[in-house]
Amino acid sequence: METKNILIEVKRQTGVNIRECYQCGKCTAGCPVAEEMDLRPSVIMRMIQSGTNEEMDQILRSYTIWLCLTCETCYSRCPMDIDIPKVMDYLRQRSLVEGKVHPEARKIVAFHKSFLNTVKRNGRLSELFLTIDYKMRSLRSGTLFQDMTVAPGMISRGKLHLIPEQIKDKKGFSRLFKNQLKKRKP
């Protein structure tokens, strides 16, 4: 895909016109996790602007898109009103669909997946089940015991329920997870 098509595709999917970006860098300057990023937000904007397929591929494989906290600071201060968080949402979903998730980010993705999985099952989130599901997914990451230090404290403060809350209309609810309106494949 050529530059023009990438820009058009981003605009079609998100409504955001990346051409507006004039590389002032204010997004990066205010980003709380910019230091940790492999590609800074403003660089991602530039890569989409001038990028080829290879550049897009690099973005989708980047750690940045998963580090983004959606704190919206960039969008709120952007002189051009560019909704960068929305673009990040789009890039994450594409990265997932195309199987390009950065190895360092697998923990983050695992967490999100566990989250949605728990919600899918019960309609509401059980923090205990989320923790268990997440720990099972991230066994290899070696943080199995990290949250074990917090769990007893949570139980003693009455913050962890052993029996998850559940919604009643599970049938209606499960419809939301089926037959998604449009798969966002590029």
């Binding site: 004039y22 205010g30 910019a34 800074r40 403003s42 002189p79």
Partner: protein
């Protein structure tokens, strides 16, 4: 029987790329009353005009329709061509195929159809055109200059030196404007006051200039060569003839803590005050809003100490009417308060200041006598950060345009800082360095290379205070967008240049157009940069758009030249597009019934009454009469007239209906 010529212009490709011009010419040729029609690449060019002239003679044309651009630019061109070929110029009309058709539609049959319709309408109209003749009016050879900054000063001096009278009005107590607030000026670093004050004095002493400070334009009536301006001379509360400017009152005034406008809020002034020591005139005014006597009824210290008894508490505003032939608007600009950008902490942290405030710090006449000391504790900042585009080029919260002067003044600020604080470090966060101008690029290079100012390409996202330092969170976009954090002692925001508050009202008062940012609009962006849409009103300086001193002075001289050209004539010709009340044969004389609704509706007081008498002098009828010298051809009276007795020449009801009918009676 009409013999009309139709001339279709391609306007290069502006029209012909979208409209099938050949077809338009062909269709026009078939229209009843059209004796000739053709198309040409540039109708306004010499060969294009020659075609029109030839055809008028060859075909004996009685009317001409040029289908081209908006009449704003080229109607005079084509009318002149017609006139040279012996046709009354007002027998020529223009159909606007560019702005009204080709520029706003895509190429299609419908677009061409619309072009054909537009031409047909004008052909029908021109059949009803009557020969008209320009109106002659006299010229009052006095100019009104509004605003006493460098633009107004330059324009006034130039007009006065060409031998004409000038009335210069300034809303503040002194002339001098923003330039008097500046420290040193780029790119030569000469002291602003040193080059300005001699000019200020010259204005005050010039025999051809009447200076009225503390005065504003209240009303402007009339038209080119014949304006009537009403000026509000605000009460200064002193008798200027008696006051010697000794300054005793200002030292004794007990209200001392009023933020000084001249020092951009960094210093204080008293309630009776002279804005700055070099002020012209160097006589005080009482600021009633802050004066203890005006607010609480007690004090009068100034009156007691004044050695000449010049204080006049009961002085009132005066309204003065003057007649002028031309107006130069030189009202300048304003600095945008960076309060729209709370992330920069202006207003929250004392040591975050604007560029104009920095000028005052760096100025020898400023609150620190030219030493760079920060407002919070008076210490000399060892690390200073300048943020460019703090408001400019920011459609989201600021203004979309570039303020043009900030790149240069920020470079100057950093340079002045480095000259004054030798062990200091300065940083400029910028997006682009816009240094187009004579010796400008060299100037910014000097700041970087010789004065060791650190330019960092990137914007700042946030400024906050921690442990007595201002933490500036920025980015270096040239280093892979690396976040940069600087612990600064002071931050200077290059705040945007915006239109003055009240400029919109002033524009409406003068009937000149203004843009979306409330800057006054020039008549043509390239070829009429100092004229406005209203003849006889000219622009100078930053009231038209942000500009620096050299550009302002050039424009002011340009405006002065325009005034001088105008004043070189004793009489002006005006377009005869004015209202007339119809007259007819006895016993009707006129369908006007003398209700004078028109006179109440007229915004220009152009309608009076006329008595129709018989041979013996007995009054038969009283009817309305339009003074063609005052009428601006707005048409309000036509709409108000209940008996349809008024018409605008060249735009009569008959002509308008014919145009509309031509559109409705689609062939």
């Amino acid at each position: 029987m009409s013999r009309i010529g139709v001339f279709i212009c391609h306007c290069g490709e502006n029209i012909s790329a979208t409209v099938d011009v050949v077809k338009v010419a062909e269709e026009a040729g078939k229209h009843e009353g059209v004796a000739y029609s053709t198309d040409y690449k540039y109708m306004c060019s010499e060969p294009g005009q020659t075609i029109i002239k030839q055809m008028i003679k060859e075909k004996g044309l009685t009317g001409v329709v040029v289908a081209a651009c908006s009449p704003r630019m080229h109607e005079p061109t084509f009318r002149k061509a017609c006139s040279e070929a012996g046709l009354n110029p007002y027998m020529c009309e223009m159909a606007n195929l560019r702005e009204h058709c080709s520029w706003v539609h895509d190429k299609s049959d419908a677009t061409t159809k619309k072009a054909i319709d537009l031409v047909r309408m004008l052909v029908e109209k021109v059949k009803f055109n009557k020969p008209l003749y320009p109106i002659k009016v006299p010229v009052t050879k006095t100019a009104l200059v509004i605003g006493g900054g460098i633009a107004g000063i330059q324009a006034s001096l130039d007009i006065a030196n060409s031998g004409h009278k000038v009335v210069l009005i300034e809303k503040d107590p002194s002339i001098g404007g923003h330039m008097s607030q500046l420290s040193e000026t780029f790119p030569t670093l000469d002291c602003s006051q040193c080059i300005l004050t001699p000019r200020m004095v010259e204005v005050a002493q010039h025999p051809n200039i009447t200076l009225m400070t503390y005065s504003e334009l209240e009303k402007l009536d009339g038209f080119i060569g014949n304006f009537k301006a009403t000026i509000r001379k605000k009460a200064k509360s002193i008798d200027e003839k008696l006051c010697t400017g000794c300054g005793l009152c200002t030292t004794k005034c007990p209200t001392k803590k009023i933020p000084s406008e001249f020092n951009a809020g960094l210093g204080f002034r008293t309630a009776i005050y002279v804005p700055f020591p070099q002020a012209v005139p160097n006589k005080p005014v009482i600021d009633k809003e802050n004066c203890r006597y005006y607010q609480q009824g007690k004090c009068k210290v100034c009156e007691k100490v004044c050695p000449t008894g010049a204080i006049r508490f009961n002085q009132e505003d005066e309204l003065i009417e003057i007649e002028v032939g031309a107006v130069v608007v030189a009202t300048g600009f304003n600095v945008m308060e960076p309060s729209e950008f709370p992330e920069y902490g202006y207003g929250k942290y004392k040591d975050v200041i604007t560029g104009l405030q920095f000028e005052r710090l760096a100025s020898a006449s400023g609150p620190t006598l030219g030493e760079i000391r920060r407002p919070s504790d008076g210490k000399i900042p060892k690390k200073i950060v300048f943020i460019a585009c703090a408001g400019s080029r920011d459609p989201a919260k600021g203004i979309p345009y570039c303020s043009k002067i900030c790149c240069m003044y920020t470079a100057k600020h950093a340079m002045l800082y480095q000259h004054k604080v030798h062990d200091g470090k300065s940083y400029i966060f910028y997006m682009d360095i816009r240094a187009g101008g004579k010796n400008y690029e060299e100037f910014t290079r000097r700041a970087i290379v010789e004065d060791e100012v650190n330019y960092i390409r990137g914007r700042v996202s946030k400024v906050y205070e921690e442990n007595g330092k201002l933490i500036v969170k920025g980015v270096d976009t040239l280093l892979n967008a690396r976040p940069v954090e600087i612990e600064a002692d002071m931050v200077v925001l290059a705040s945007a240049a915006v239109a003055n508050p009240g400029s919109e009202e002033l524009a409406q008062r003068m009937h000149v157009s203004y843009d979306a940012y409330n800057f006054f609009s020039e008549a043509h962006p390239k070829l009429k940069p100092v004229e406005t849409n209203t003849a006889g009103i000219f622009l100078a300086g930053a009231c038209q758009a942000p500009k620096d001193i050299p550009e302002t002075v050039s424009q002011a001289s340009g405006a002065a030249a325009k005034v001088a050209i105008l004043f070189s004539q004793d009489e002006l010709s005006r377009e005869p597009v004015v209202a007339v009340v119809n007259r007819s044969a006895p016993p009707v004389y006129s369908t006007c019934v003398g209700c004078f609704m028109c006179a109440t509706a007229c915004p220009y007081q152009a309608i009076g009454e006329e008595l129709i008498t018989d041979r013996k002098g007995n009054v038969i009828k009283k009817v309305a009469k339009v003074n063609p010298g005052l009428c601006q051809g707005c048409g309000t009276c036509v709409a108000f007239c209940r008996s349809k007795s008024i018409d605008i020449q060249g735009y009569s009801n008959e002509q308008m209906y014919t145009e509309v009918m031509a559109l409705l009676n689609d062939e």
